[in-house]
Amino acid sequence: MTSQKCKGARDLLPKDMGAFRFIEDVFRKSCLGWGYQEVRTPTLEYLHLFTAAGTLTPSMLSRVYSFLDWDGWSGERVVLRPDGTIPVARLYIENLQPQEIARLFYITNVFAFEETGRENRERWQCGVELIGINKPTSDLELILLAIETLGNLGIGDFQIQLSHAGVLKAALEELKLNPDEKVRLLDQILDGNWQVLTEAKSKNSEMGRLISLLLDLRGKGSSFLENLKALPQIPKKVKPALDNFAEIASLLDVLGCNYQIDITSTRGFEYYTGLCFQFSAKGKKIGSGGRYDNLIPLIGGKSTPACGFALYVDPVVNLIKPQATKKANQGILIRCDRPMTESIQTSFQLAESFRQAGYVAELDFSGRQSDWRWTITVQDKPPSFTCTDQTRNRKREVTSIADVLKIVGGSK
């Protein structure tokens, strides 16, 4: 049979959902532990929320699912949520603005077209936004929350890469390009093409050397940034961003957190203004985040600093160990081989009693086998039950529901 599923779409089967829910539960628990509150935004948003400069890049916008709604005669387009952060920023502006600090988290799907159809066009992410604080300690909080979540998921072997959009954007300013050239350059860098920067920098040799030091080297601690700060040619406008970067890095050093400084590690940081961080494991990017102090005013809110991150559920699923997702509940199969009015009634009553006692009780009226440990056969001459313990290969006959529960309960 040919598949009728949409290209780039995916079915999540019971085993996938087991892993998915496990990740969700661990993530929720971690966030709640840090005082974050869960929110959910609609799947549809207006396109204009994402089009302003400083939100999504044109190349990302060219992959959004945008369309005219049934009442879209005004030409106002809607999109399937292409990003997790911007809708939460909107939610904050519309509902929570009076509250100075908001710690929010969400589990959401985001949609982006992908040409081959072999990759998912709908992806899930676990996101966190810390709105209202511009202190380096808040950047730190997010990194530590992410580390804790990954730890609780049993993922030990991951790397952290740090970059800083503020340093990068200030350095770009220093190249003194005309507006057209700047937009073109930034768009390409945002899409991960760092080569263009190497080409542009040659025109300005002082800045060129600085950009080389920034782009070509990877640092392993805050000293790397201190060394950069000590250089004579650091322009005045780059300095505050570099200071901020160095401060966060040294705090991470103090907390014994391992990281790598790699300016080129970040992508699509259009709305980021400060520290950007990325988590990767086994060569795959599993999460990223950063500071976005201009986003909220840009989409119509008051000037409000904010930062956030998201873990990508799809690659994380591949990293968690199977035992972490195994079935926790003990199950019972209740079989009724000759379903008559009375035996059917007894079967449902028995199932209810089991569920109330905390068991999973599966009913069967068609003579099926199952791999649950216990099978209780309901006889048609009531009240009569056969309890089969499949692991010990033993059978017992009893006459009341209470006795059945006792036998199963006693076997734990």
């Binding site: 204009h48 089009t51 044109p58 916008l61 005219l68 049934w70 005669w73 005004s74 030409g75």
Partner: protein, 479 residues
Amino acid sequence: MLTGSQSDYIKMALPKGRLMPATTCLLEETGLEFKDYTPGTRVYRLKSTKFPHLSAKIFQEKDIPIQVAVGNYDLGICSLDWIEELLAKYPTSALLKVADLQYGKGDLYLTASRYGNISSLQDLSAGQYSWRIVSEYPNLAETAALNFRLRRFRIFPVWGAAEVYPPENADMVLLWAENEQEIKAQSLTPLKTLLSSNAFLIANQESWQTKNISQIVACLSQGLELKDKPWLKIKPEVSKNTNNFRPDFNEEKIWLALPDGHQQSPTTEFLNKAGLELQGYSGNRVNRRPRFNMDWVNVKVIRPQDMPLQVANGNFDLAITGKDWLMEHLCRFPSSPVTELADLGFGQVKVVAVVSQELPMTNIDNLKQLIQAGQLSPLRVASEYINIADKYLRDNHVSRYQLIPTWGASEAFLPEDADLLIENTQTGQTLAKHNLKIIDTIFQSTACLIGNKNNLESSSKKEKIASLVEIFSRAVESN
């Protein structure tokens, strides 16, 4: 020698209109001529005079990239702007740009009125204003708006006459022109050239990978290498309307849209009966801003297809269009505020479902049975009324179907490029001549006056709108 594939049957899609004279010349010079491929031809299906395995069909230029991409045609010739318009929305289309044929030169410009308040792209980035962009190229317009980082914008796709909308009824126009002079003659200022376009030879990707079309491509290639290329010297006959006017920003005036094309002469007749006089609306050369004998009414002549959307958005207050186009709009946007204010009675047509005479069926139920039996699946449906067609098929529980939008001459799509056609007809004679038969009448359409419910109730102009509606209604009654 190649085997088998030597005789591969090859189908070409050739353009009507602007590119036709130069394309005819190119094909003749390269030995690929088709009988009857000449301006004014009434034939759609063409046979090659030299190659028995080569045939062609004539299409509106805009249809050609779609027809080649879906694989109905192996090769096509059309202007690059229409190719890019398709690729802007569907970048993975199975379409190859094979050769730049160098004729039919022109550019796509993003323009604003020289009387408006936009003189450069920088003027667009400020503020919360939602820019109104009118274009026959809505996909390219959207891409451009995103690339220019316009904060808010609304794209109004139009069938034509895009240049007359600004400055009063739109802020910008994305349009094709041969050169900047032509843009300026329309009282427009070019803000940015988006694309330079020539005629291109395009191929379907699958055909290119599996069929032997080398003979045809080689003929054209030899032509491109010739020293003397007479087709480059052929200037297309485009009637260039100059557009000299004084803009009118008086917000108390009524904006009335009148139709061009077929509906123009019956509309003139009707207006005359109503005692309304228009200067520059009748005759062959349409003034797109004719003058009315009532100075509180401003008139523009645009395509009837585009009117409901314009009225819904308040760019025009009233318009004379067909019920078919009102219905098409309401099928797409059921909550639109556009409504029919008066049935004007003229311009009667039926909107019908049409199939080829060859198909053994007489009604839509037969068609559904045929689809269920696994024939005609998916059903290919061609129509200018894409939303009426969509609703008609949904309401009849037809599954699965594929909609092919067309821009005129839809009857030529059947039977080879579509199975069902949703089309208007006056007498059914054209359909019969094309060996087609009607299996269902969807509704009757006549010309009507449309307006915007919201404006009728609350606009500061509501009295003026009401009195103009009154004049039209009285004229209908006196008929």
